[in-house]
Amino acid sequence: MAWEIKNDRPVYIQLVEELEMRILNGTYTVGTKLLSVRDLAGEAQVNPNTMQKALSELEKKGLISSRRTSGNYITDDEKLIRDLRTELASNEVGEFCGKVKKLGITKKETIELINKEDF
């Protein structure tokens, strides 16, 4: 479960993206408790303050709730997660289609290509 932090973008933004990804794709199960900020930071090899900043960002999005004495929990709002996943996925699809259309390909051909992919 290695965290890949790239060099040229702010660390905390990359943490937000990675945490979001893990919540959306179910790596972090709905409703479960996250590791402590320190342990998460240790796993990701990042500064705890930066990790905290990222977690606060996710709290604002509603993906995480922080309970004072017991720590951070993934939301159990499955609809929120599904909606967010759909939103992000459709952004990617939109971008993808935009690129692919420039090549002059048809919708039918595109769908055929997609069907060949493993999901």
Partner: protein
């Protein structure tokens, strides 16, 4: 007061050579700071001044509001670049010594970390490899519940696996009441662990920003910015 370290107009000369020139610096509790600069830039001089091994020529230097002395040595945990444990000692001897002199020494932490790194109590320092000695020193330093940790090149002489362990230890050891100053030239490995970055050149403070500020403003990593700023 959230300030753990404060320098004002700090100057240190070795004869006519100016190692630190009128340095102003402030470090708050709960921060992990990177002290970066080429060799001879004054990093080690600054650290030695804070540790109490040197006296400044002019300027003020306080830790937790106090001048450097016995009281600051009680709350500052220093890891020098060198091996300072006497050769003839065994691991258990140096542990007893730390326990004896430092009230904030946490013996349970030491035992856990020694276990993790496979270092036995009755090993002789003389028989250890350089890497193992460095790991041992780091364990001793990090096992103190100090208020300011000074780490001078903590990962330079260590293999990559141990490097990861050391960085993870620094992170999981995090205490919002304490600060860590890491002096290193291995910026790439350590960048993401830092809050603030302080770059020193020829005894002068060049840059003092957070890692993310640098990345946002310059679009580069701290490592890349460093190479640019200090290009030979």
């Amino acid at each position: 007061m959230s300030e753990i370290l404060k320098c004002t107009g700090l100057t240190k000369k070795y004869g006519s050579l100016v190692a630190l020139n009128n340095l102003d610096l402030s470090v708050n509790k709960g921060q992990i700071i990177g002290l970066l600069g080429p060799n001879g830039s004054g990093k080690t001089t600054l650290i030695k001044l804070i540790a109490g091994l040197l006296k400044q020529n002019s300027g003020e230097l306080t830790v937790n509001g106090e001048k450097i002395g016995i009281n600051t040595k009680k709350i500052v945990s220093y890891l020098p670049e060198r091996t300072y444990i006497p050769d003839w000692m065994r691991v258990v001897d140096i542990i007893k010594m730390f326990e004896n002199f430092y009230e904030d020494f946490n013996i349970e932490k030491v035992k856990t970390m020694l276990d993790n790194l496979g270092i036995k109590f009755n090993q002789r320092i003389k028989a250890m490899s350089k890497g193992t000695k460095e790991k041992l020193q780091l364990i001793l330093v990090m096992s103190r519940e100090a208020q300011l940790y000074l780490l001078d090149e903590p990962i330079a002489g260590v293999d990559p696996a141990a490097r990861d362990y050391i960085l993870r230890t620094i992170i999981t050891n995090y205490n919002p009441e304490a600060a860590v100053i890491i002096s290193t030239h291995l910026i790439q490995d350590i960048e993401t662990v830092l809050d603030d970055v302080i770059m020193i050149q020829n005894g002068n403070l060049k840059i003092h920003k957070t890692v993310d500020e640098i990345r946002e403003e310059s679009g580069k990593s701290v490592d890349e910015l460093f190479r640019e700023v200090f290009r030979c």
